[in-house]
Symmetry: none
Subunit: 165 residues, 2 copies
DNA sequence: ATTTACCTAATAACAAGTTATGAAGTAAGG
DNA sequence: CCTTACTTCATAACTTGTTATTAGGTAAAT
């Protein structure tokens, strides 16, 4: 399964960050974003996570240089993930944990957003179903009532008049 | 042996920091500097160390908020006496790690609750739809029965005309 | 052939953090 | 009494980081 990449326009849409801001962050934070044959930026999922993290740290009021430091930590964590993990608790790096925790927070926020979306969808769905069922039932009931009346002999019900003859 | 304190003029001289800058740092970084009976600032040795550290971090380009974080770190580390103070001031942040962990727990609980609610709602929704369908089927059956009767007898009912032959 | 979406680079415009200055007040000491 | 060294508070002046705009250019799709 090939990794998916996003163009800067998509990223801008998804993360609600202006395109020039994305370019600015790339320069100021020295992010290395892939380019395709034509030179267009290709953002990977990992890049998206990084950007989310960056925005969070920004909201916290962290400086560009501070964010740079934090990112270095995250990179280290991901590098060491490849290597066999035989370190016990004593040798475990706190920065590693911190970076991981930050990632988890980002992921969780994403999940929370997802949850919210699901809730909205269910709301709409419930409303829809309710409305539709009511309507259908109403129509059938109406029809049946009229039909029954008709059956009982009333030839001149308003419906038959209305329908014509 | 009583601790020695320095007045702002002395500190300014020793560390080559303007007095107004010292006051500014106290405010922006929320340092708690002792005051004497008259309200004059009294800088302790520890305060001097802190100030030196602050200037270093500043030179590195760290933000006020980043420095604030770093300072909290130092405090915590000195309190817990767990680890020697290394140069990873920004990231060796046990309190922050704990705070993050708590945040994660809260988020996860929220998500779990939400998930449970969503599941219940979906269950109810499905049940409802099922029930409605049953009901509708019943009514249609009823209708069909009547329709059959109609077909077998009265050829000129308004319904048959309406439906079209 | 025109629109769309991307690129770079320069620069304007704005916001915020910081440095610096000044006014007005208090207490200690020569 | 006058100077010195503090205090607070307000504000001016400057610096910097960031946002936003513009111009000029390429490639692909309509």
């Amino acid at each position: 399964m090939r990794e998916r990449f996003y163009k800067i326009g998509e990223v801008s849409e998804m993360l609600d960050i202006e395109q020039y801001t994305l370019r600015y962050l790339e320069n100021s934070l020295k992010l290395k974003i892939k380019r395709d044959e034509r030179g267009d930026r290709q953002y990977s999922e990992s890049d998206l996570d990084t950007l989310k993290l960056i925005m969070e740290l920004r909201e916290k009021g962290l400086n560009t240089t501070a964010i740079k430091m934090a990112l270095e930590n995250v990179e280290q964590v991901e590098e060491t993930r490849v290597a066999p993990v035989n370190d016990n608790l004593l040798t475990t790096n706190i920065p590693e944990l911190l970076a991981l925790a930050q990632q988890i927070v980002v992921q969780n926020e994403e999940m929370l957003d997802n949850n919210k979306l699901l809730t909205e969808r269910i709301n709409r769905l419930e409303e829809k179903v309710e409305k539709r069922n009511m309507e259908r039932e109403r129509k059938i009931d109406e029809f049946l009532t009229l039909w029954k009346n008709e059956q009982e002999g009333k030839n001149k019900s308003w419906l038959s008049k209305l329908v014509g003859k």
